[in-house]
């Protein structure tokens, strides 16, 4: 059986951030997120009812938390646990090539639709 590769089909540029569900099981969703320079809208903060563990696989990004003035600049191999209801945003992603994230949503309600 040939495995799939997380970097296959990753476009160098895209108008929007691309989110692909790699696995969805009760309480867990594993996503591949490809950013090509996108950031969260100005003033927007994610506020999720569940925890999210993110691992940056390629590129770079700046993750901000509402309760922390310090930028969390992420490079390949860096990972962070975003606790439930910890408000966060993506300040920037690298404009020079695709930033590929692995996001693991933990304890997500099954009724939730596909949101980061």
């Amino acid at each position: 059986m040939a495995p799939e590769n997380i970097f296959s089909g990753v476009a160098a540029q895209s108008e929007t951030e691309l989110v692909t569900a790699l696995l969805a099981m009760p309480g867990i969703r594993i996503e591949k997120i490809v950013s090509t320079g996108q950031a969260s809208p100005p003033g927007f903060w994610y506020d999720q009812a569940w925890a999210e563990w993110v691992l940056l696989l390629s590129g770079s990004a700046d993750l901000r938390f509402a309760d922390d003035q310090t930028p969390t600049v992420m490079k390949p191999g860096d990972y962070v646990l975003i606790a439930a209801h910890r408000r966060h945003r993506v300040e920037w992603t690298s404009p020079d090539g695709p930033t590929v994230w692995l996001a693991i949503h933990c304890g997500i309600p099954q009724t939730e639709t596909n949101q980061m």
Copy 2:
């Protein structure tokens, strides 16, 4: 806040496979597994009551399934879902440097101890 890096502290060689829990929540465990040439014992098959999603981050490995004669040779970025009770083993990992895996155990009973 400085993120942690999954490749930090990875030894080039080790006597045994090293498993580190990066996150443990009800029903989910995320592990970093570092192999430096280790394989499953001859004739041994893992048979888990829960699903495991694995992503190879560096190195290379050959994952075998009892129901599939074809080797599943994995290179960086390759991922596979191992269904619950699908018997599998690691036939070999690269002898040339560390093979780093991310393993996400899904639906794992909370009473289980730390096993791949």
